[in-house]
Structures are given as C-alpha cells and as structure tokens.
C-alpha cells in the first residue's frame, strides 16, 4: 500500500526521530510513505476564523496533490494532521471556502475534499490492524509501563477529527498493548500541555505540562508516548521534575519492530 506523506517543518528539524522511526517501521510493516514534492508548511495552527482563506491554501495544495496521485494522505505530527484534516473538512462542507480557495488556486480540477486524511496511528489501527501489528513485533516491550499522551489536536473537535472518543480515547493504549507493553491510563492524558503558550508564558505552560507528568507518574507510568513535537517539548522540559520519560510513539514502534 502506498500513501502520500506530508512530513511538516518540525519533522525535518527538531523532531527528526518522529519521522525517522516512522519511515523505518513502515518498511517493516509493508507500506510506503511517499513524501510529497515541494510540500509547504501547514501553518501549525488551524485558522479558526471564518474569513481566513490565505492561511488554508498550503493545506489545500497538499491535499490536491495527494488527490492527483490518487492516494490517501498520511501525517505524523498531530498539529499538521489537525490543520490538514480540518481544512479538508472545510473544503468538503463549506461552499464559500471551497469556491474562494479554488478560484484562488486555479488548479486543473477543483478540490472538493475528496482525499482521506489519515494519521499514522490511524493507518496502524485501521489499515494494518493492531492484531496484525502485534504479530510483527520482534522485541516485545514486556513489562514496561507506558502512558499514552493524546493532547488536544488529535482528538478535538471530535466532529471533524473523528479520531477516537475525545474524553476517553483508547487508540494509543491499544497500540502500546500491541507492542507488548502495559498501557497506563491516567486522567490527564487528554489535557492540554500548554501548546504554544510555552513561548510567551513559560510558567503557565510548565504548570500545565507538570500536571500531566504528575498524573502519569502517580498512576505508575515510567514513560509517556506522544505524536506531537510541541507536546514532547513541553513535557520534556519539565520531565526532570518527575521520573517519567517522553518519547515519540514511532520510536517505541521501531524499537518493538527491531529497527531502532
């Protein structure tokens, strides 16, 4: 199976591990992530205002290019996934945005939200299947207590993202279980890490991240996995205060598949 793949800026710089291990694991799992040619930054945050068009264009270009190749579009970074998936929904459901964007872009065929946007985790869950994944595990992570950290962007708003139950998700826990480790459910796993607040209001972000780490360690998790570079950053700069380490889910995957 071949997918169009949108990496996003951070994966080429500060979050190279997230991508590296994802690509290696994909090889073992038997699917191909074809990086798009000349992709552009998604803009990091979804433009929430109804009157913003320009900020949605780069996502539509990405989507239209995936459509041209006849592929589903796969993302790795939660933020990119959030932005592209929501812009795709706008193109599908909001006529005024659709018309304006298509007029502006002037691509050969109007884009109407045809592409299916999948997060790497969704590929694992829905296209490969966690049962199948479990069979391919070479080094089961037996005995490790790992907490899933979902953050905001994968889950909310549920109406558009449709990733999992936004208040009580289970995808990453099932993923952890498939790798042979013990998933730890803790109540803060869907709370916000502080996001971009860490730039302007470091104390607040630190506060928010600490609550998450504290909650995870209270429930006896030794590690936390996440899909978002910014979540990882926010959790990591506070990790010293707790004993919990933070890694990308792909690193865990590669380790279990024996390609780390």
């Amino acid at each position: 199976m071949k997918y169009s793949y949108f990496p996003g800026c951070t994966l080429k710089t500060k979050a190279q591990e997230l991508e590296k291990y994802a690509l290696r694991s994909a090889e073992v799992l038997g699917f191909e992530l074809e990086e798009q040619i000349e992709w552009q930054c998604c803009g990091a945050v979804y433009p929430l205002a109804t009157d913003e068009i320009a900020t949605k264009l780069s996502s539509v270009r990405t989507l239209a290019s995936a459509k041209e190749n006849g592929n589903k579009l796969v993302t790795l970074c939660s933020a990119c996934h959030h932005v592209i998936k929501r812009v795709n929904e706008d193109m599908k459901t909001d006529k005024s945005t659709r018309d304006k964007v298509n007029n502006y872009l002037n691509i050969s065929e109007d884009y109407k939200g045809e592409v299916e946007v999948l997060h790497y985790l969704e590929v694992l869950r829905d296209e490969i299947g966690f049962d199948e994944l479990a069979k391919l595990v070479k080094n089961p992570l037996t005995g490790r207590k790992i907490g899933a950290y979902y953050g905001c962007l994968l889950l909310r708003p549920d109406k558009v993202m449709g990733f999992d139950d936004p208040e009580n998700p289970s995808t990453i826990e099932e993923f952890i279980k498939a790798l042979g480790a013990t998933p730890v459910k803790y109540p803060y796993r869907t709370e916000c890490c502080g996001g971009y607040l860490s730039l302007d209001n470091k104390d607040k972000a630190a506060n928010m991240a600490s609550s998450i780490l504290l909650s995870a360690s209270k429930h006896e998790a030794n590690e936390i996995v996440t899909a978002c570079p910014l979540c990882k950053y926010n959790l990591e700069i506070n990790e010293l205060k707790s004993k919990v380490t933070v890694t990308y889910f792909t690193e865990l995957l590669a380790e279990a598949l024996g390609v780390k």
Partner: protein, 136 residues
C-alpha cells in the same frame, strides 16, 4: 465598576464583527460555565471564558479586548468539546484576538523579543503558531 447600558445598540460593529468572524452563535450560551471549568489555562485568565461570552452578549467590547484571557488561551478546544450548547468558544477567542491584532501596531509579540524567548529545543511549530496567533 462602570455601569453598562444593556440594549441592542450595544451590539455594535465590533461585536458583530467578532460574531461574524467566529461563526458561532453567542446567544446559544446559557452560562453553565462548563467551558471555564474545563479550561486548563483558566488560572491565567482575568475574565473566564463563560464570562467572555456573557460580556459579548452584553456588548461590552472594551472590557473584552483589554483582558488577558485571549492571550492565555492555548486553543486546546476543550471548552468547545464539552459545551452543551455546541458553541466552539475557541473560535470566539480567536475572533477576539483577530479583531485586536488586525489593527495596525496591535501585535501581541515583537519579532525582536523572540530570540530571548526561544531555546534550542523548541520546535518550529511553536514559533509559527505564536506568529499566527499573536500578530498579523
């Protein structure tokens, strides 16, 4: 405290602009305050999210744009996810921010300030986000 005149004419241009940009119906709100209770950043907010909606309903534009609340919203979407009235409060926060920063010279963050605020590990994502959220 100044006395606010409550009448429809208070829903002046700015307020309608906020409603329009957000695309949300603020009059659906019945002040259950679940948004405020859910907000992970509420400790930094001088006006809680449900109060923001109420003040918009009353039409007190000045009080909204001068609050610290909008700059402490992390756009985590928790408020909208739990709102029983199906209002996406995040969109309202964004609309208020935009009405401020779209005015010339009203950017929240200065490019010159950046170097001292970022460190080696900080992902690009954070910087791009802040530029999108805090300046035009």
């Amino acid at each position: 405290m100044t006395r606010v005149k409550v009448n429809p004419s208070n829903r002046d241009k700015e307020i309608s602009r906020i409603i329009e940009i957000s695309g949300e119906n603020i009059y659906s709100c019945m002040q259950c305050s679940k948004c405020s209770a859910s907000c992970p950043a509420n400790s930094e907010m001088d006006i809680l999210p449900h109060q923001v909606v109420r003040i918009l309903q009353l039409g007190n534009y000045e009080r909204i744009v001068n609050s610290q609340t909008i700059w402490n919203c992390a756009s985590c979407f928790t408020c909208g996810a739990r709102c029983p009235r199906d209002i996406d409060i995040t969109k309202i926060m964004e609309a208020i921010r935009l009405t401020v920063i779209r005015n010339k010279g009203e950017s929240r963050i200065d490019v010159d300030e950046l170097p001292e605020k970022i460190d080696d590990k900080m992902p690009h994502q954070a910087i791009v986000s802040v530029f999108r959220k805090y300046r035009k």
